[in-house]
Symmetry: C2
Subunit: 331 residues, 2 copies
């Protein structure tokens, strides 16, 4: 495993320093906590503060999404580890302008525990905090509420960020974010692991000719391991599982995200998208907007995920809204 | 080598189909040639047509950059192979609106030959074509005119695209593009190869603990192979070579691109950027705008490159201009 790093123990701090140095017009690190990254620009007083977060290693998510129409602040955890309550609280205080704060993050035990603790601490300081947990990973549990959050979180953050930017109240932003999360489903497939800088160990082991359907973004076991399939066959497997959980009818509208997990090329993602489009065309489902790229990664993991979000007029409006962040801009 | 593809022989055609299907508001494939990708939106009649191109495998470059403020059309070659004259000519005819067409591409023999041939054919059809070859790779030759084009081409395309969007004449766009190319220098470092889908073979071989400075984006030999260094040491090597070729004085302004070659993570790129910033701060050189991400790849190659562009007021204005393409948006 070769990486362009300095001391493995310092990768997260140095990454944050470099990121903040690259985009001073968007973000700054709080002097009180070097794991608390917040917007460096002003917003309208009373705008709901949007806070997302989680472990490092998923770049450009989370901190790459700080900017207009998206997210106000991100507490940054160690690699694949939830951020502690303290940076969450510091971010919360920094981004609250009186309208309250919404926490959104993938539904993992550590994140739930630490964000909940920070919410209690924030309440003691008089800041109202609400929470929406992302649960888009169809493979991770039968019950939607028990599922983990993976790449489909991008749609939830985008939607809530747009609602906050439009001046929606905290209750309204929460309503929209919940609706978004309920409308998103993701299925992933892994081909090769990532390597943790501090240990040099792979996040999981797969044979040279194997793929695993539903493997999580931290190497959590998936639902089916087997010989590698073609891109078209893989899309069909992913899409069938999504559609059995999120039935779509002729004339329905969706947003599509084909997400690379790290080392997967855009060439492969476009080839995957081609099949998604053909399949949805057959079903008479309209693709309202497409996203193809590495939005939620597991460092250099190989593989990709497919997310569909079923749109109503309100969700479509929020997905179409402009956004301007260091790693995601929509005109 | 595992890839999410179907038939290896079809990867380029299927990639183009998927890309065009994902972004119908930006691009379309010409009915006359399935390797000719052009803008699907209208532009002001007389706007200079910007055509860039080269082999596949460098996505999001080249076809990802078709959009407002950037590029009008892209002839697409096979993996790491120049596009033939015919798609170049078809793209040229499609994007010419009377103001003439500018070809820009990396200075490789196959590209030079085929684009020159297409330019002659276009001239026979009454279309004025000018050419600016990108020669930013410091490691590739002592004489600037002999050098190859790598990631710094992004700056040249961005600059020329902005000039064309502003209504500059073909002569003026050529002048700006040449000035941009003269002001850009790039140095790259490779850690691991990519694999050609049709052969399954790596593009080069490096030891488990080795890196190669100056290795080209198609595996061309570099200038120095040795043990892998830290991110900071690597940046210092790259920057020293750039600065010895592009002297910068206190108070100078630059645009910076830290470009991932494929499987390199944003984490690593931000850590690299951190050192670039510290180094330039010491020299009193101001970073006017930063770009960090995978802009010009070699499929899943590991490594990155550093590009600096020395800015005058005109180049800064063009770099700052808005752009809206499927893979690059600047507000």
């Amino acid at each position: 495993m070769k990486k362009l790093i300095n001391q493995p123990d310092n990768v997260v701090d140095e990454m944050i320093e470099g990121y903040a140095a690259a985009y001073p017009g968007y973000v700054k690190v709080l002097p009180s906590n070097n794991r608390a990254v917040v917007r460096s620009f002003e917003v309208r007083p009373g705008k709901v503060g949007i806070v997302i977060g989680g472990g490092s290693g998923h770049e450009p998510t989370f901190m790459g999404l700080i900017g207009k129409g998206m997210v106000d602040g991100v507490p940054v955890g160690n690699i694949f580890a939830a951020p502690p309550p303290n940076p969450i609280l510091e971010v919360t205080k920094a981004v609250n302008t009186g309208g309250g704060v919404l926490y959104m993050y993938g539904n993992y035990m550590g994140d739930c525990m630490n964000f909940d603790m920070a919410a209690e601490l924030a309440a003691m300081e008089g800041i109202r905090v609400e929470t929406v947990r992302v649960t888009d990973d169809v493979a991770s549990a039968p019950e939607p509420a028990d599922r983990r959050g993976i790449a489909g979180g991008f749609f939830v953050y985008k939607t809530a960020g747009a609602a906050a930017e439009r001046g929606y109240s905290l209750d309204e932003v929460v309503r929209v974010a919940r609706k978004a999360n309920d409308a998103v489903r993701t299925m992933g497939v892994a081909l090769s692991p990532c390597y943790i800088p501090q240990t040099g160990k792979p996040s999981f082991v797969l044979g040279e000719d194997e793929m695993e359907i539903g493997l999580g973004i931290h190497g959590e076991p998936g639902v089916e391991r087997g010989k590698i399939r073609t891109a078209d066959e893989t899309v069909d497997v992913l899409l069938d599982r999504i559609l059995s959980d999120l039935p779509l009818a002729r004339g329905d509208r969706v947003a599509v995200l084909v997400n690379g997990l790290g080392s997967t090329t855009l060439m492969e993602m476009y080839i995957m998208f081609r099949r998604v489009k053909a399949h949805l065309d057959e079903l008479g489902v309209n693709i309202h907007r497409s996203y193809v790229g590495s939005y939620v990664t597991s460092m250099e993991m190989g593989g990709c995920s497919l997310s569909l979000m079923k749109l109503d007029d309100e969700l479509a409006e929020m997905i179409d809204a402009p956004a301007d962040t260091p790693t995601f801009v929509q005109a």
